[in-house]
């Protein structure tokens, strides 16, 4: 690939640059839905071979399926645990409303992360489920560590999801113990989620769990987000400056789960009381003989 021709750009080069610039600007200023449609079209036509090289390597079918099932169970178990903690903390206040909490996370839809944007300033995942598989815009994405992000665009069998590390994904969060609600947004400077709007008199401390508040109806209530790692007073003296480390490990996401529509965390029913063991007839007679 040795360069031929004059070193300085010629008219044709400037025209080529202008055409590319015009095309790119038109794409960028067009609506988001148009861009997503164009991206879907390109991925399935011109850049079909590129999908093979940008996709993550997937292991053999059966172990992969088994792994997905196990991760699904683990995520379900962790969500159940989080729900139990929530239930214990809210028990007094919500006793009358427990009927509402008998709803469950109906279904976790497992999907593979099949692509990851190369952007150094945000993070967009390509997932292996699309609108034909039940994925839709605004759907919550969770992983074993907790909330991962939200679906922002779909096509037939793939969708795009922005993670919490994307500055464009604010989340309404709840301090699990003190019940204060605030907004979480990724802070690139600290590489943590900044938890804004928590009043100065709140008792937020390091290690306190943060879960979704359910406000805004994007993320269901009670999904673990992470834990508080830094608490300080804001310069205004009105609110606390709190930073939260997300529970999800965004660098090692291979499978994630989409929450089915209308999901809410479940408080699993209390265990049935174990009846007192009645000795069998043979055992009773043996006891009597010994007596």
């Amino acid at each position: 690939m040795v360069r031929k021709g004059a070193p300085h750009p010629r008219v044709g080069d400037w025209v080529a640059l202008a055409v590319v610039a015009l095309l790119s600007l038109m794409l960028q200023v067009s609506g988001a839905s148009f861009r997503y449609r164009v991206a879907g079209f390109l991925r399935h036509t011109v850049f079909l071979p590129a999908r093979l090289v940008t996709a993550y390597a997937v292991g053999p079918a059966d172990p992969a399926r088994e792994l997905t099932r196990l991760r699904s169970e683990l995520t379900q178990a962790r969500l159940d645990t989080a729900a139990l903690v929530e239930a214990r903390l809210e028990n007094d206040r919500l006793r009358e409303q427990l009927a509402f909490l008998s709803l469950q996370v109906d279904k976790l839809v497992p999907c593979q992360v099949i692509g990851k944007g190369a952007d150094r300033f945000g993070e967009v995942l390509t997932l292996s489920r699309g609108w034909a598989d039940g994925a839709f815009e605004g759907q919550s994405v969770v992983g074993p560590g907790g909330l991962v992000g939200v679906v922002t665009g779909t096509e037939a069998h793939e969708c795009w999801a922005k993670t919490l590390r994307h500055g464009g994904v604010p989340v309404s969060g709840l301090l699990s113990e003190s019940r204060y609600v605030g907004m979480l947004r990724w802070s690139p400077r600290h590489q943590l989620l900044r938890f804004a709007g928590i009043p100065i008199h709140s008792d937020a401390t390091d290690g306190m769990a943060v879960v979704t508040s359910g406000h805004g109806r994007i993320f269901p209530k009670g999904i673990p987000i992470g834990a508080v790692v830094r608490v300080a007073d804001d310069s205004t003296g009105l609110v606390k400056e709190i930073y939260v480390r997300p529970g999800a490990d965004f660098d090692r996401l291979e499978e994630v789960f989409l929450l089915a529509p209308g999901s809410r965390l479940v408080v699993p029913p209390p265990p049935e009381p174990v009846p007192a063991r009645v000795p069998a007839a043979a055992e009773s007679s043996a006891i009597e003989r010994q007596g």
Binding site: R3, V20, A21, L25, A39, P188
Partner: protein, 164 residues
């Protein structure tokens, strides 16, 4: 035929990004092979090659993050064009020149991108840029020219010539 070569080399860059770059990452800092190949295309192939590579790799990357489907090819096209424009002024075959040019263009590319991503908020843009760009630029500028210089000779078994 010439443009098929573009396509194949672009796929090679993406393959490197998807495989080798992950292995070479230091924390969240990864080398940017796609941008490096655009720089090489501009440096060695001229303006149109640089722009074409930039457009192609930008569009493929844009498909993975459709929010920036237009911005990515625009910036990478500009990178290819800028690399071609500077090739007349520098010794384009020297690894140090190539490394320096890759670093400078990556820094410029990321600065523009950070300004757009942060909606013109300069403080936030500089914060974003400072966290990600310099380390990535350094890693790419060290790895790619070194690999381009030494790997072919090493793979052909002429290691003495490679390090002479």
């Amino acid at each position: 035929m010439f443009y098929w070569r573009y396509l194949l080399l672009s796929f090679l860059a993406l393959l490197l990004d998807a495989t080798v770059a992950r292995r070479l990452a230091i924390g969240s800092i990864r080398p940017d092979f796609g941008l490096a190949i655009v720089v090489y295309a501009g440096l060695l192939g001229g303006c149109r090659a640089g722009i074409a590579f930039g457009l192609l790799i930008g569009l493929i990357r844009g498909c993975l993050e459709p929010d920036w489907l237009g911005l990515t090819p625009l910036l990478l096209g500009l990178v290819g064009f800028a690399a071609a424009c500077t090739s007349a002024m520098v010794n384009r075959k020297h690894p140090l020149t190539q490394g320096g040019l890759i670093a400078m263009l990556l820094l410029g590319h990321d600065l523009l991108r950070a300004v757009v991503v942060s909606s013109g908020d300069i403080v936030e843009a500089l914060t974003l840029w400072f966290r990600a760009a310099p380390a990535s630029a350094l890693l790419t500028a060290v790895l790619v020219p070194a690999a381009a210089t030494f790997l072919p000779a090493i793979l052909l078994g002429d290691s003495r010539r490679a390090f002479s």
